[in-house]
């Protein structure tokens, strides 16, 4: 399909800002695509994109990269053409074409390659239009269509020609504010989708997968091989589980016997729990993950021999060995928070990015991922919290909601210090990080002890620490405990000293800054931070006024913070506690969360004023 490019309307040329997203550096005027099949039943998709540079910062959007799946020549890109409308020194319109010499094609990864090009003469006000064709071996490469982008989109449309006789279903994900147009066209066997004026979705803190919040349509099609021969269409989760258990790359791998396995170590284990732990640690310490996500394994034997594999290889090995050790284990398909939410309405495998082991012992369930080296057995991997997992079992396949309300991100700080007459503080401190708070810290500590210690005191510029000691590394249940001495010179202003007390809480900078929010705030876990601090004051330093005790509670009672400051004889006691008792907040609750955080940071950073009476 050839469409002329380089025709720009007066409205497009006069467009100065994006009306529905005024902060945008650039805007996609239109992205239109059509997917059709050829005689070889390849999936052929023609893209046509028009974008306008609105601000200086947007000029870099003229550096365009098209990534494609080049492993086994599955996909290739052709017919790339581009035109830019820009201005010469006399502000007259000039159009230039992309020269083929300035198109670069590079393999960038085992699986992916990238076509890149940049346009000449890019200025604020330039409009770029480009077209290209992607050809994939078969309809198995059909991806969701995303109407929304990081940049605002004025028109996004997609026409999909369905293979004759194919069973086909689609699901639209959209916010009710944005209407969608859907037009099936039965004569040609195609269906057309379009949306208009969708603001850009930018990265937000504590956001799960951006694609969960993007306006999009997902497709479910029966499988095709190269020749367009239809394979059986799976229409229930139960059927899918049954088929997966027969699948060469999945279920049958679980029946293989792995060679050279040091089974004796767990055969004599005293309890099933002990057995699970031994198998889990055995696989974790023997296998190296190549950082490729997968839920399949072409051969767990090969991977086992190489002691290296993708996520599917490693966890299918784990499941295989747990099963052989006589434990009640099933493969569970999961989608990490960053990969996006699972839609349980359609049996659609692409939603999952991992397989993990789901073990049940005496009614207690465990989720084990052997590519994760740090998470202890009793915790669910952090990346899976607040997601759904699908247990693949011939008889009892089912969904489980993966969440954790028992263990949280728990941090306890204690400081015992005294001040001398010149305002220098010296003392001892213990900082304990429990459970989810421990995992990341432990990983950082193991990778570099020196850097870890430096980073520990870095946020507090005037603070010195020494005799730094870390305990609890090898225990699954004990916290990561840091014991150390600290010293600190109080800031002096005239006769006054400022005593600050927000140390080691991890709460140094407010993460919620933007005015608006589109995505759910997903902390993954609930959170608690407790600090108990004592400061012995010298005779000459006296408290001007005792700061107020403060208690902050959100209207829904889920976030609580308090600060209590008391003085007994010469000792100042400070108790701080911050508790977040929900792990997810919807975008509608953003104002409440932001307001709470603002107040918490104000409270934590309010210094205590001491007057020098000498």
């Amino acid at each position: 399909m050839e469409t002329p490019i380089g025709n720009f309307t007066t409205e497009e040329i006069n467009l100065k800002e994006c009306a529905f997203d005024k902060d945008a550096d650039a805007v996609i005027i239109s992205h239109e695509a059509v997917s059709n099949f050829n005689e070889e039943y390849n999936l052929v998709t023609d893209h046509k994109i028009k974008l306008k540079i609105l601000k200086e910062k947007g000029i870099e959007k003229a550096n365009i990269k098209i990534r494609y799946y080049s492993d086994k020549d599955f996909e290739f890109i052709s017919n790339l053409k581009a035109v830019i409308l820009s201005y010469n020194d006399d502000h007259e319109i000039v159009k230039s074409n992309l020269n083929n010499k300035n198109i670069y094609n590079k393999k960038i990864h085992k699986l992916f390659s990238e076509i890149s090009f940049t346009m000449p003469n890019v200025k604020v006000g330039s409009i770029i239009e480009y077209t290209y064709t992607s050809i994939m071996k078969h309809y198995g490469g059909l991806d969701s269509w995303y109407f929304q982008n990081e940049l605002p989109v004025m028109l996004s449309s997609y026409r999909l020609y369905i293979l004759p006789g194919a069973e086909f279903a689609y699901t639209v994900y959209r916010t009710s504010d944005f209407p969608i147009e859907i037009k099936p066209h039965s004569q040609t066997g195609s269906i057309y989708y379009s949306m208009k004026n969708i603001p850009g979705l930018r990265d937000e803190v504590y956001m799960g997968a951006a694609r969960d919040y993007l306006q999009r349509v997902n497709f479910q099609l029966s499988n095709y091989d190269n020749n367009g021969i239809k394979t059986k269409y799976v229409n229930t989760w139960k059927q899918l589980a049954e088929e997966l258990m027969m699948e060469k790359l999945f279920g049958t791998q679980l029946n293989k016997t792995l060679p050279n396995v040091a089974k004796t170590s767990w055969e004599t284990a005293s309890s099933p729990d002990e057995k699970m732990k031994l198998v889990y640690n055995y696989v974790r310490s023997n296998m190296v993950w190549d950082n490729i996500y997968s839920k399949y394994s072409s051969s767990i034997k090969d991977a086992w021999e190489k002691k290296k594999g993708n996520g599917g290889d490693i966890n299918l090995i784990l499941i295989n060995l747990l099963n052989e050790a006589g434990l009640d284990v099933s493969p569970m398909l999961v989608s990490e928070r960053d990969n996006g939410k699972v839609d349980t309405t359609y049996p659609y495998l692409d939603q999952f990015n991992k397989v993990v082991a789901y073990v049940t012992i005496n009614g207690q369930s465990y989720i084990l991922d052997a590519t994760d080296k740090q998470t202890p057995l009793h915790l669910i991997p952090f990346s899976l919290l607040n997601t759904k997992g699908f247990i693949v079992d011939k008889k009892n396949s089912r969904f489980v909601t993966i969440s954790n309300s028992k263990t949280r991100n728990l941090n306890v700080v204690s400081i015992r210090a005294s001040l001398d007459k010149a305002g220098k503080m010296r003392g001892v401190s213990t900082v304990s990080n429990y459970d989810y708070s421990k995992i990341q810290k432990k990983e950082d500590y193991v990778s570099s002890k020196t850097k870890y210690q430096e980073d520990f005191s870095k946020p507090y510029s005037a603070l010195l620490i020494d005799s730094f000691k870390v305990d609890g590394l090898d225990s699954d249940t004990l916290p990561l405990k840091h014991d150390f001495n600290m010293s600190y010179e109080l800031t002096k202003s005239g006769d006054y000293y400022l005593l600050t007390y927000n140390f080691f809480t991890g709460l140094t900078k407010n993460p919620f800054i933007s005015n608006n929010r589109f995505s759910t705030i997903d902390f993954g876990t609930q959170y608690t931070c407790i600090a108990n601090e004592n400061f012995a004051l010298p005779d000459n330093l006296q408290l001007e006024t005792l700061p107020k005790n403060i208690k902050l509670v959100t209207p829904d009672n889920s976030m609580v913070a308090y600060r209590e400051i008391t003085k007994e004889e010469n000792t100042l006691r400070i108790n701080l506690k911050i508790e977040i008792n929900k792990s997810e907040y919807s975008a509608n609750e953003y104002a409440m969360v932001k307001d709470f955080y603002n107040k918490v940071f104000d409270t934590l950073n309010e210094p205590i004023l001491l007057k020098d009476k000498l």
């Binding site: 902060d23 393999k107 940049t118 000449p120 200025k123 603002n598």
Partner: protein, 489 residues
């Protein structure tokens, strides 16, 4: 059965030790002197390079390294990354892993490596590729042995041999250089007081450096780049050939002579275009004013895109290309600016520089090619003007911490001249924050903040002005430690 197996195994093991003794290589972790272990995550048992300079365009470097990793913090020695391109090939690569006892547990070859294009964090396109491999440890301590050969078919610099003793100590460090007498090399050591043993064999000169038991010396933050402090043997080529271009590196002048032709272009602009350019500066009086007009034109119309291909490390895209396409990398934009100035009769010269705030200035006494950037030098009596041609917002003549107080190789028609770029003084790098505080009755306050900056801070603030409002607020909270602003203009 078990018994026989044991005997065979024993014999093999003995054989292994014998061959090890021959090479003076030990793989067990037990023989390391305690004095070397202080502060060390790993002990380099052997770090040997044998460089065979075949001609002015070819060399072969054999690398043999044996590293005992003491603990998980030394695990970075398990990651093997080698870069290569069309003039620089990696061959015969072999990685072996040994356990604590010194027994071989795993062997890797080229086919186990993953290959991908190099991404240097800046470039849009580069020629370079990376091959990488992670070889897991069988436990700690363990020993990793690396063997490979570099086959260079074009070079400017010859490889230095450096001891990285920031986190690891070295038992045996050895570098051998064989070179035809008529080419010969220049050499020196830095942070290392050893002299080479020099011998001759037919028409080949052989240099050999060796050092033993070098303990850990940690690098401190805030200093120059690591290369300034690590012990090293530095080798300099006298003559070289890269991508078919022959040159001499025995002094800075000759290296400049080699680079100059890359910046020569017969007729970059049409007569009509030249008239346009002349018209732009018609009203400007002084040289500085003219430079200012054309530099503003460059900043407004051209953009920086890094494209490093072929001899791209040295040869810029033509001025004509930049004039048409309105983009280029540092070389292309510098070359373009130079040609703009030439049209209005102002001579200027490209200047190679090793840019980066903590880069150590190029050494006047030891010519080499440490440069990663090009700027423009415009002679102006006693007040040379320097232009950073990749910037869209720098003031005319402003260099900033990236390129100030370094040594730049100015490339002239008579060859290279190494000169100092001017340092800036503290007074010219000011960030002034003005807070007007209005106290409330209840002890709260309203703060109006305004900022202005000079030098590097001015660039930082201008950068902030071009980003989204929410990101600007983030700058206040994260960089300047403000609380989240309520109101922002």
């Amino acid at each position: 059965m078990k018994c026989i197996f044991g005997v065979v195994f024993f014999l093999l093991f003995i054989g292994n030790i014998n061959s090890q003794q021959k090479d003076l290589v030990t793989y067990t972790a037990f023989t390391i002197a305690d004095s070397l272990k202080k502060d060390a995550n790993a002990i380099v048992r052997l770090d040997e390079g044998i460089l065979d300079v075949v001609s002015n365009s070819k060399y072969i470097l054999d690398v043999h390294q044996v590293v005992t990793i003491l603990n998980a913090e030394g695990a970075y020695h398990l990651k093997h990354t080698l870069g290569f391109d069309k003039f620089y090939k990696i061959e015969n690569v072999e990685i072996k892993v040994y356990n604590e006892l010194g027994l071989l547990t795993k062997k890797y070859s080229r086919k186990d490596f993953d290959v991908q294009s190099a991404y240097d964090g800046v470039s849009f396109v580069t020629d370079e590729k990376l091959m990488y491999l992670y070889s897991p440890a069988p436990g700690y301590p363990c020993t990793v042995e690396t063997n490979y050969q570099i086959n260079a078919t074009g070079y400017i610099d010859l490889p230095d041999w450096r001891i990285n003793n920031n986190n690891s100590a070295t038992e045996v460090f050895r570098y051998t250089v064989k070179v035809p007498e008529e080419i010969d090399i220049r050499y020196r050591t830095i942070n290392l007081m050893i002299s080479p043993l020099v011998t001759s064999e037919k028409k080949t000169k052989i240099y050999k450096w060796e050092a033993n038991n070098i303990s850990v010396k940690r690098l401190e933050e805030g200093g120059y780049e690591a290369g300034r402090y690590l012990p090293a043997v530095q080798i300099g080529a006298n003559r070289f050939s890269y991508d078919g271009y022959d040159g001499e590196l025995n002094n800075w002048k000759n290296f400049g002579k080699w680079s100059y032709p890359f910046y020569s272009e017969k007729k970059p602009f049409s007569d009509e275009r030249m008239n346009e350019l002349r018209a732009m500066t018609e009203k400007s009086g002084t040289l500085f004013e003219k430079v200012d007009v054309l530099y503003s034109y460059l900043k407004k119309n051209m953009r920086y895109v890094s494209i490093q291909l072929g001899i791209g490390g040295f040869k810029p895209f033509s001025a004509r290309f930049v004039d048409e396409k309105k983009y280029g990398d540092c070389k292309a934009l510098t070359n373009y600016m130079r040609n703009l100035l030439a049209v209005v009769g102002i001579p200027s010269y490209p200047a190679l520089i090793n840019a980066g705030y903590n880069k150590f200035p190029a050494d006047s006494l030891f010519p080499s090619s440490p440069f990663n950037h090009v700027i423009l030098c415009i002679p102006n009596k006693n007040d040379t003007i320097w232009l950073e041609c990749t910037s869209n917002n720098a003031r005319t003549g402003f260099l900033g911490s990236f390129t100030e107080n370094k040594r730049a190789l100015v490339i002239t028609e008579n060859g290279g001249v190494l000169v100092n770029t001017p340092p800036s003084v503290a007074a010219n790098n000011k960030l002034v924050i003005n807070n007007d505080i209005f106290l409330d009755v209840d002890g709260g306050a309203k703060v109006n903040t305004s900022l202005y900056g000079t030098g590097d801070f001015l660039l930082l603030l201008e950068e902030q002005k071009s980003i989204k409002v929410d990101e600007q607020k983030e700058f206040f909270v994260k960089y300047l430690d403000y609380k989240t602003p309520d109101d922002y203009k």
